[in-house]
C-alpha cells in the first residue's frame, strides 16, 4: 500500500471524529489531527485503535506518542506494515 492509499484510508478513519469538513477534504501530510481537524484528544485513541484494526498492526506507546499529524501517522503505519 502506498502513501496516497494510506492517507485515503486515514481520511476514512478520522471522518467520524471531526466536524472540520474543509480540513478533511484537503487532508494531506501536513494535516494536524488536533489543530486542523479539531479532533478531541480522547478520540485520538479511537483513531489509534481503528488504525490497528484496519491495517492489522500493533501500535506501541512510543509510536502513539507521535501520532498527532498525518505525516507521522503514515510513517508509523508504513514502518509497521513493512516490519510485518
Amino acid at each position: 500500500m502506498d502513501k496516497t492509499q494510506i492517507i485515503k484510508e486515514l481520511a476514512k478513519i478520522v471522518t467520524p471524529y471531526t466536524e472540520e469538513k474543509s480540513a478533511l477534504e484537503n487532508i494531506g501530510e501536513d494535516t494536524d489531527f488536533i489543530t486542523d481537524l479539531k479532533i478531541n484528544s480522547a478520540n485520538l485513541v479511537d483513531i489509534v485503535l481503528d488504525i490497528e484494526e484496519k491495517f492489522n498492526i500493533a501500535i506501541d506507546n512510543d509510536s502513539m506518542a507521535k501520532m498527532l499529524t498525518v505525516k507521522a501517522t503514515v510513517e508509523i503505519i508504513e514502518t509497521k506494515l513493512n516490519a510485518g
Binding site: V45, L49, E52, N61, K66
Partner: protein
C-alpha cells in the same frame, strides 16, 4: 506553571466509548484501570483521571514546547475524594504536579500546578462555551483583559494594576473554564 482541563460529561458520553476493547489499556496505567473498574461510578472516574492527565500535560507541553500523545506516561496518584471534588497528583518523568478537580452536575474540571505554585491561589471561572468567548469576556469585564502573550499562551491583563496573570483555558461541549494565578 498551571494547566486546566474541562470535560462536558454529556458530550463525553456521546463522543467516546471507553468500554471499547483496548481503549483503557492505551491511555491508563494498570493502577488507574483498577481504579476505574472498581469504582462505583466508572464513567465519572474515567473522565476524572483523564482530565487530571490532560491538565498536567498542558504544563509539560508549555514547559517543554513538545507535543506528544503519551497519556500513559502521566500517572495519577494519591487520589482523595470528597463529595464534589478530588485532590491528587500526577507523576511525569521526575516531575510531580498537584491536582484539584471539581465535580459538577454535567461537567468536571481539573487544575494542575507545578510544586512551587499553590492550588489555593488559583482563580477558576466557568462560562458557557462560545466560539467568540474572548470577545464576550473582554466586553463584559471591566478589570481583566484576555489576550495572548508573546509565546501565544493566554494571559489576563489587569487593566487597573497593569499586572499580567498566567492563565490556562479549556473548553469542551457547553463549558468553558478560565483559570489564572
Amino acid at each position: 506553571m498551571l494547566g486546566n482541563d474541562i470535560i462536558d460529561l454529556n458530550f463525553a458520553k456521546i463522543e467516546s466509548n471507553w468500554r471499547r476493547k483496548n481503549y483503557l489499556d492505551k491511555i491508563f496505567t494498570a493502577d488507574e484501570r483498577m481504579n476505574i473498574l472498581t469504582s462505583n461510578n466508572p464513567d465519572l472516574m474515567v473522565w476524572l483521571l483523564w482530565s487530571m492527565k490532560e491538565s498536567a500535560y498542558k504544563i509539560v507541553n508549555r514547559l517543554t514546547g513538545k507535543r506528544l500523545y503519551n497519556p500513559k506516561a502521566f500517572s495519577c496518584k494519591n487520589i482523595n475524594f470528597t463529595d464534589d471534588s478530588l485532590t491528587g497528583s500526577v507523576l511525569y518523568d521526575e516531575e510531580k504536579f498537584l491536582i484539584r478537580s471539581e465535580i459538577r452536575n454535567d461537567f468536571i474540571h481539573s487544575t494542575a500546578v507545578s510544586p512551587q505554585v499553590f492550588l489555593e491561589k488559583i482563580t477558576i471561572n466557568f462560562y458557557q462555551n462560545k466560539s467568540n468567548y474572548v470577545q464576550e469576556f473582554n466586553e463584559a469585564q471591566q478589570v481583566y483583559h484576555l489576550q495572548k502573550n508573546n509565546q501565544g499562551l493566554p494571559e489576563l491583563l489587569n487593566l487597573r494594576s497593569n499586572t499580567k496573570h498566567l492563565t490556562s483555558i479549556s473548553h469542551h461541549g457547553k463549558h468553558l473554564a478560565i483559570a489564572f494565578i
